[in-house]
Amino acid sequence: MVYKIMNSKFRIFLESAIISMLVLIIGFSLGLYVESNRNDKIIENYRNYEIQALDLKLQNYYYQIMDSSSCDMAIEQNFQFADDLYLTGLELERFEESNQITDELLREKKRYSLLKTELWLNTILLKKKCDASFDTLAYLYAGDPANSKIVAQQKIISNVLRDLKEQKGNNLILLPVAGDLNLGAVELQKRVHNITRLPVIIINERIVLEGFQSMEDIKKFLSLI
């Protein structure tokens, strides 16, 4: 059959099919290669953060049990870690949007969300122990937004928070966490703060702001506490 086609004027159909398949295979191969690289980068970063997180946790134990005189170092490291985690989180979101073949990043996103929640709890403890004056702002967003309104809201809130972080520097720890991944620790936080809808901003574990907030509104609440 193939021999018959290849020797007739209809071989054009077969040749076109082969070239189209080739284009598809090249596309898939390139896509897989690029996505694997992205995933590897996120996984590699996660491994490093895991070590950092453990280190911070141990330091926290140490300050709780032994000594609170050198809180500054712990606070500084906490900030550094939160900032790194925040930047990688942004990258992860970007990669997740671009990945079309693999869905490995969903698992990594869950891991990162847990790591951020751990950092959040660590920060709460550190603030209490060291009587620190910095603000914590946890931003629980929908990883899989239900509609365009939420997409638009989240895009703005994310940009507003990025600007706020740039302004406040080391006076603010920013913790964006995907709130719809069915993770026990995150669900617990939602229950504690009576959160039923996303996105929300939780300022210093006391004020919960739902939906779109302007920079001025957030600043106003930060200064209240």
Binding site: K9, I12, V34, S148, Q153, K155, N159, S214
Partner: protein, 407 residues
């Protein structure tokens, strides 16, 4: 991979596949595009000119036929006045008096297919040539077509339609459109897949058309239907790229939509009638039916995907405007970071190939080379308009509202 990514991948794959077919066909046959078989025999030809309210163009059409380079005693011209309500009948009578080989068939209005079938009963020629009453064959067009009939497997031969009137943007786009349509039709000739013998000028073996029962009056595009009927019986259809006929195209969007709704309805009716021959009979079953069916399906899917995209982006922008009014700078919505994706790769391949395809098509036609900007305008703007008549046609088909739409 999610569902929508799969849909895009399938669309891009078939888009690339069909474009590759045309590019291969062009480059393998580019020196044969304008070739026509030598004219060896003086077949007798009956020209059938169905006319409904064609008082403005009928004289010019008939005179174009009279002036064709072909022996006068080997042709007759039958004007079929399909119950016109204007002065067509009197003008036709004037033409009958003026030219000895012109005759008039008067009948009550019943559509083009019926008119042609009536004329078939009195036509004396071995071949029939159907010419729309607003179309004007070039002097040498018949000679470029008739040689194909020396091959007994050829049942019909069609010509290249060019636009006569181009007063505005729509006319200019149609000039480009008709060029691409004619060029692709010629390319399909090289794989025995000419699936439309156009209304402005096409020729048929009279005995064959009679054997097939004539033109289908229930079909809104009797020219597509008769072609598919001929192909389904194992005959070949040919296209002479060098046989030119000028036609009048719609000058406003409303008339254009009306014309294209009819084309789409007729096309859909034809697919509905012949789909059972899919993957059964040669090039017709293995390529023509799947290709035309896929064109309709992909156009609908493309429209749905586009609507979904507009809905998502539109509602996002709507909310973005709302928040902008609350002081959030609008320009921040446009921050975009480039990332490689599978669909981006396939999309670039598809659009690069499409631009190459259009450029090659224009260079092979009377329009000549076109800039990439014009091609992008044509393919993104004008071709996107194709979906409007398609949706209307689907709606009408679903409601069973099928009438004669052109007049």
């Amino acid at each position: 991979m999610n569902f929508f990514t799969w849909v895009y991948v399938v669309l891009f794959f078939f888009g690339i596949f069909f474009l590759m077919i045309f590019m291969f066909l062009h480059y393998r046959n580019r020196y044969r595009l304008f070739a026509s078989p030598a004219f060896t025999k003086h077949y007798s030809v009956s020209f059938l000119v169905p006319a409904y309210n064609e008082q403005d163009s009928l004289v010019e059409t008939v005179e174009a036929i009279v002036n064709l380079n072909y022996p006068k005693d080997r042709r007759e011209i039958i004007i079929i006045n399909d119950g016109s309500r204007d002065n067509t009948k009197n003008i036709a009578l004037g033409l009958v008096k003026k030219y000895s080989n012109v005759c008039l068939l008067n009948k009550l209005n019943s559509g083009k297919a019926n008119s042609l079938n009536e004329a078939l009963k009195i036509a004396k020629g071995e071949l029939i040539a159907v010419v729309d009453a607003d179309s004007y064959p070039r002097k040498d067009s018949l000679l470029k077509m008739i040689g194909h009939f020396d091959d007994s497997s050829v049942g019909a031969v069609t010509s290249r339609v060019l636009v006569k009137n181009k007063p505005n943007w729509l006319g200019k786009f149609q000039v480009m459109d008709y060029s691409i349509i004619a060029w692709t039709r010629k390319l399909l000739d090289f794989v025995d897949s000419v699936y439309v013998t156009n209304g402005p000028l096409s020729m048929y073996r009279k005995d064959l058309v009679i054997k097939l029962g004539g033109f289908d009056p229930k079909n809104l595009t009797e020219d597509i239907e008769i072609t598919w009927h001929i192909l389904s019986k194992g005959y070949r259809t040919r296209m002479s790229y060098d046989a030119i006929v000028y036609t009048t195209v719609p000058e406003d969007l409303k008339t254009w939509i009306k014309q294209r709704v009819r084309w789409n309805l007729g096309g859909l009716q034809t697919v509905q009638k012949y789909w059972k021959a899919m993957f059964r009979e040669g090039a017709f079953g293995h390529f023509v039916i799947p290709y035309v069916t896929a064109s309709f399906i992909f156009a609908i899917i493309g429209f749905l995907l586009f609507s979904r995209y507009i809905w998502i982006k539109g509602s996002y922008n709507l909310f973005s405007w709302y928040y902008s009014l609350q002081g959030y700078p609008f320009w921040r919505y446009f921050d975009y970071t480039f990332s490689f994706t599978l669909l981006l790769f396939l999309g670039i391949c598809f659009f690069a190939l499409a631009i190459w395809y259009y450029k090659t098509g224009f260079m092979s036609s009377e329009t000549g080379n076109k800039s990439v900007i014009k091609i992008v305008g044509y393919s993104f703007f004008y071709r996107s308009l194709y979906v409007i008549p398609l949706i209307i046609a689907l709606y009408k088909l679903a409601r069973g509202d099928i009438r004669w739409y052109t007049k």
